[in-house]
């Protein structure tokens, strides 16, 4: 069967803006249904997947994913009519009665969550597609399916943790013999994901977006100072659940919608809210540290409890909280499980894949092999690259290599020289990480590189760490992992070996950890070839790897976007497949207009 999974709730943000006017722009992100995406599964195999943000260039876009759908179908030459089923990764119908208890929530249900709302969007963007071929899958079940049916495991524990699905914040399943059995769920009233996001907002960052920055800030702080606050705030229950009383302080509709009572409590009992333009102080770092420690504790508690009662030693994770590399690293190191698999598109983009996989499993089409590095997005032809280059002809110089080997040798030489390069090849990654097809790369051994890339290339907060990509053959040399440990998704922190921390200043976090990505010849061959070439030039088959975008911009998709971003930033060279692109001497190094265009509607 040809099954198209989709995610996102297009009207959620608009509904909030219409019914809760006058909020701070950042408060409108206390909402749901972001990260719309489409994923095409044919006879049980994922063949194409991408987030809508990569097409409409609005970060975390929740719009009905018509651009992503169009790409998925075009990738394999299918017409819309060839799609047997569309599966949406939300199913609110069982909760309709609960929403009907108040006119406002009833309207929210009708306008945002209902089947009718989805069908109306489908009718607008996919006219003529039969309604009876559009189905719904429970949100956490979609996440769980995305993890279980790509884990390659027959029998494992599957844990989903996010802000909330229809009504839950965490769900625990056992995946066995191709079926998912629900073991427990935790209400959204006790959502660790929402607490993490509220404190992200309190610290001056964006709810439902910037949580990874708080994770990055945490190691700079002292968790001890606010440990007691979080120990009291998040209670661990004997049955594996958690309770977060401060989230239940919200009594009125307004309080519940925007968590105002909780946020006042944080203001009174934790620290004053930081505005985005305010300096980051030790208060903020210490809160981030204690919050992260709290999340680590919660994940160990939930996963550990259900691992213990089931006896399962393999853990598969998904849901937005599973993007927290530090908590994943804690689980990996804990000894509670022998193996950990985090589905790399763990956020709501991945729920689109999960919804499709769940329906495929129902008709017995799943083979359940381990997800390769998820290069499921668009690739662009040589003609399309040449056409984009022609557009910027007055600003760039190009050198065309004849082979991958020559391109890798040249890129490796530049990296070894201390240059910052962009590396663009093949199909775009599915999920939030650039894994070697839309990446900015540099030498991790240079102490100035972190600040330089943060300031001049990514234009983002100075404290943010960078991740290393390293060949599978060498990962154990530099990092505290067993020989051949595969961590291909850059979604788990591990420790840099103590003796190498000083030599790897650009990727070693202040606590000695790194969000490592292992690269194998098997499923990431071209990037592997590059790292091998880097190894010849620097002695380390390793590069600093960060996503090819600037702050606030989705990762580049097309060659044109790659050129725009390249020209608008301090990236020194760009490799578009085997074409090396540099700036013309008379071109200004940074072109603010191009950055504006690249960032698009967000600026």
């Amino acid at each position: 069967m040809n099954i198209l999974g989709i995610s996102g709730l297009e009207h959620a943000m608009a509904f909030k803006k219409a019914h809760w006017p006058g909020l701070d722009e950042r408060e409108y992100r206390i909402s749901q249904g972001f990260d719309a995406a489409a994923a095409l599964v044919i006879d049980g195999v994922p063949v194409a997947a991408a987030a809508e943000e990569r097409f409409n260039r609005q970060k975390h876009s929740g719009r009905f994913p018509v651009g992503a759908i169009s790409f998925c179908l075009g990738q394999v030459g299918l017409a819309l009519d060839d799609v047997d089923l569309i599966a949406h990764s939300f199913d609110y119908a069982p909760y309709r009665r609960a929403y009907s208890i108040h006119p406002m929530t009833a309207k929210f249900y009708d306008d945002v969550c209902s089947r009718e709302a989805l069908l109306s969007l489908a009718n607008r963007d996919l006219p003529g597609f039969p309604a009876e071929r559009i189905q719904h899958v429970n949100h956490h079940l979609s996440h769980a399916a995305s993890a279980y049916y790509t884990s390659g495991w027959n029998d494992c524990l599957v844990v989903v943790v996010d802000a909330m699905g229809e009504a839950q914040s965490a769900s625990v399943y056992r995946g066995r013999r191709g079926k998912l059995e629900m073991l427990a769920e935790i209400s959204a009233l006790n959502s660790m994901g929402i607490l993490y996001s509220l404190i992200t907002l309190h610290l001056g960052f964006d709810f439902n977006s910037d949580e990874y920055k708080i994770m990055g800030l945490a190691p700079y702080g002292d968790p001890g100072r606010f440990r007691a606050f979080f120990d009291e705030a998040v209670q661990l229950c004997q049955d594996g659940a958690i309770r977060i009383p401060m989230l239940m302080q919200n009594r009125t509709r307004e309080e519940r919608e925007n968590y105002t009572a909780t946020r006042h409590y944080l203001e009174r009992r934790l620290i004053r809210a930081r505005q985005p333009e305010d300096e980051i102080t030790c208060d903020h770092r210490d809160v981030a540290a204690a919050l992260q420690e709290c999340l680590d504790r919660v994940m160990l508690h939930i996963c550990g409890h259900f691992g213990s009662i089931t006896g399962l030693r393999k853990l598969a994770l998904a849901g937005g909280v599973a993007l927290n590399c530090t908590a994943n690293g804690c689980l990996l190191k804990s000894g509670l499980f022998d193996e950990l698999y985090v589905q790399p598109a763990a956020g709501d983009d991945g729920s689109a894949l999960g919804a499709a996989l769940f329906r495929a499993a129902q008709v017995g089409e799943i083979s359940n092999v381990r997800f390769p590095t998820p290069f499921l997005g668009p690739a662009y032809s040589e003609d399309e690259i040449e056409s984009a280059l022609a557009e910027f002809d007055d600003r760039v110089v190009v050198h065309r290599s004849q082979s991958l080997a020559a391109t890798c040798a040249e890129a490796a030489r530049l990296i070894a020289e201390g240059r910052v390069i962009a590396w663009y090849r093949g199909r775009m990654e599915f999920g939030p990480r650039a894994l070697g097809h839309r990446s900015i790369l540099a030498d991790p051994g240079r102490p100035e590189m972190r600040d330089r890339i943060n300031a001049m290339v990514k234009m983002r907060e100075a404290f943010r760490p960078f991740a290393p990509a390293v060949s599978l053959e060498q990962v154990h040399r530099w990092f505290d992992v067993p020989v051949g440990a595969e961590l291909p998704y850059m979604i788990t922190t591990v420790d840099v070996r103590e003796e190498f921390r000083a030599q790897l200043p650009a990727i070693t976090h202040v606590n000695g950890s790194a969000r490592v990505q292992t690269v194998s010849a098997l499923d990431n061959a071209e990037f592997h070839a590059l790292l091998k070439a880097v190894g010849k030039a620097t002695g380390r088959e390793m590069a600093l790897n960060t996503s090819f975008n600037v702050k606030g911009q989705p990762i580049v998709n097309t060659p044109r976007e790659a050129l725009q971003t390249f020209l608008g930033t301090g990236i020194e060279y760009l490799f578009l497949e085997n074409v090396l692109v540099g700036r013309r001497l008379n071109a200004t190094k940074y072109d603010p207009d191009l950055v504006q265009e690249a960032v698009g509607v967000l600026t």
């Binding site: 069982p94 309709r96 009665r97 609960a98 208890i101 108040h102 929530t105 209400s187 239940m248 009125t252």
Partner: protein
């Protein structure tokens, strides 16, 4: 009706305790309108039903729920009472 409901008193007390414990909501009187006062919203209602099912071993399918059945602690007690009888009858059926 007053007398008929007297046997519900222990149940009312238990449900009040359950709501206080799970939802951190203190309801002053069993007749208080939980919906009009906003003490219950959609999420807390879903959590309440799950808690009732767990505590009393009953089934309260959300899609069959009558809103009047959860309007007050007293009406919830009647619902639990009815469902418990049904559950017992079902269990007794060979």
């Amino acid at each position: 009706m007053q007398e008929l409901d007297e046997h519900l008193t222990p149940l009312i007390s238990e449900i009040s305790g359950l709501i206080a414990e799970r939802l951190l909501v203190d309801v002053s009187a069993p007749e208080d309108d939980l919906l009009a006062t906003g003490l219950l919203d959609s999420l807390s209602l879903i959590q309440l039903l799950a808690s009732l099912e767990e505590r009393f071993g009953i089934r309260v399918p959300l899609d069959e729920l009558q809103i009047e059945d959860i309007r007050s602690i007293k009406s919830i007690a009647r619902l639990v009472d009815r469902q418990s009888v049904h559950s017992s009858a079902a269990r007794a059926t060979p």
